[in-house]
Amino acid sequence: MKTARLPADSSKRFVVDIDRFQGPLELLLHLIREQDVDIFDIPISRITNQFLEVVREIEAHDLDSAGSFLEMAATLVRIKAQMILPRPSEEEDEDPRAELVRRLLEYEQIREITLRLGRAEAERARRRSKGYLEARPRPSFEDVPLETEWEEVLAAALDVRLPEPFDSDHRVTPRTVSMEEKSQLILTSLGSGTGVEFRRLLEPFREKIHGVMTFLAGLELSRRRRILLRQSGPFKELWIYRRDEDDASDDATTDPPIHPDSTVPDPNGER
């Protein structure tokens, strides 16, 4: 506790607990009320001296709030000077202390209201709402009640299926691409028209494996005489044509040779 010894007058000294004061108004009010001074007729010289005394202590303690106390000190000194100066016309000009008195009274009223609010707060704190007490510490979770019922969890449990055990090949490739699938793709694509570009069968897919498997499927279908593969030259577009069941037997020799350089067309290759 920081204290300041005040020279109230030569005979009277008292101690002020600096920490008690939130601000200069509270200190000023304390000095006035403590000494039973008439607030409407403040002995400005004496009060100013006492105030400055305390402010020196506050500065010495380097309090954060020293600034606002210094500001008030300046105001007091100014009022003190105005009191000494002769006032030009007594009737019109306000007492230099008037504004300070107004502020002090307003502040005193706020202090009273603050006290009452504090009491109301304490009284209200004696009542607790439902769920106020968190008896056991627990992790924080969303403050929204959960509506899910056990039947739903159980239903989910009953639906759980372990995936089929699979062979090691499948472990390497997360999504498998089969030749059957690709043969189907080729035949479906040929379904309506007569020919289709090999490249177009790869368009929906990214991985190289699709190119490889589609090509192998094409070779297989060609071997089984279901389709014809045609390419006009090296690195040229590979075309797939449907082969009708009727001419399946006689047409083998007309198949153009597949260019050796085009074994596995790169789906990402040039267009």
């Binding site: 108004l25 509270e26 709030s65 502020r103 307003e106 504090g118 707060e121 009542r127 709402s129 007490l133």
Partner: protein
């Protein structure tokens, strides 16, 4: 379901005060009159059967709260830091805002005689005070007012419950000039 049961269920589940028109939304069979009558029934029942809680009028609504005399038992369970009481400075700034709302920060600071942006922030964080507009003056400073949570926190039914200046000690009353001048807030940012 009887009206008082529906109302009890709703009040029991809510962690904030509810107005009677809000309560009435719980079912078509309810209107504000029925709600008010049933609330009275409930209040009487809680009192007569000596429940540990009662029905309290609060923040323009109703809430079921434990009776004050049971607080010592509850405090034994408070192992989680309780929402602490407001500090002196915060309470002081709040008193000013409550009486002078809407009010700007500079005016609060002028009345208190000290800087107040920290305490106002604290009051906002605790949901007791909120920005309610802007002053017309230079720089259009923010204006603050109190919230419903403020009423709840202090156990007031409405702002009417705040202690009135005429109820304050005599020494403060024998003033001719109004303590709270009727300014329009235009000079909020003065000095």
């Amino acid at each position: 379901m009887k009206p008082h049961q529906i109302i009890e269920a709703v009040l029991f589940a809510s962690d904030a005060p509810l107005r009677s028109d809000e309560i009435a939304r719980a079912d078509e069979s309810l209107d504000e009159d029925v709600v008010e009558r049933s609330l009275e029934e409930l209040r009487t029942f809680y009192l007569e059967s000596e429940r540990a809680y009662d029905l309290v009028e609060l923040a323009e609504g109703y809430q079921i709260l434990t009776r004050p005399e049971f607080v010592p038992y509850l405090e034994r369970f408070d192992n989680v830091p309780r929402p602490s009481r407001l500090s002196g400075p915060a309470l002081e700034a709040l008193a000013i805002i409550a009486y002078r709302q809407p009010i700007g920060r500079l005016e609060v600071e002028h009345i208190r005689g000290v800087g107040s942006s920290g305490v106002i922030r604290t009051l906002q964080d605790r949901g007791l005070v909120e920005v309610v507009g802007r002053s017309e003056g230079l720089g259009r400073p923010l204006l603050y007012g109190t919230t419903t949570r403020f009423l709840e926190h202090f156990g007031f039914q409405s702002l009417e419950d705040l202690p009135r200046p005429e109820d304050l000690p005599v020494v403060l009353r024998d003033r001719t000039a109004p303590i709270f001048p009727e300014d329009e807030g235009e000079d909020v940012q003065d000095q």
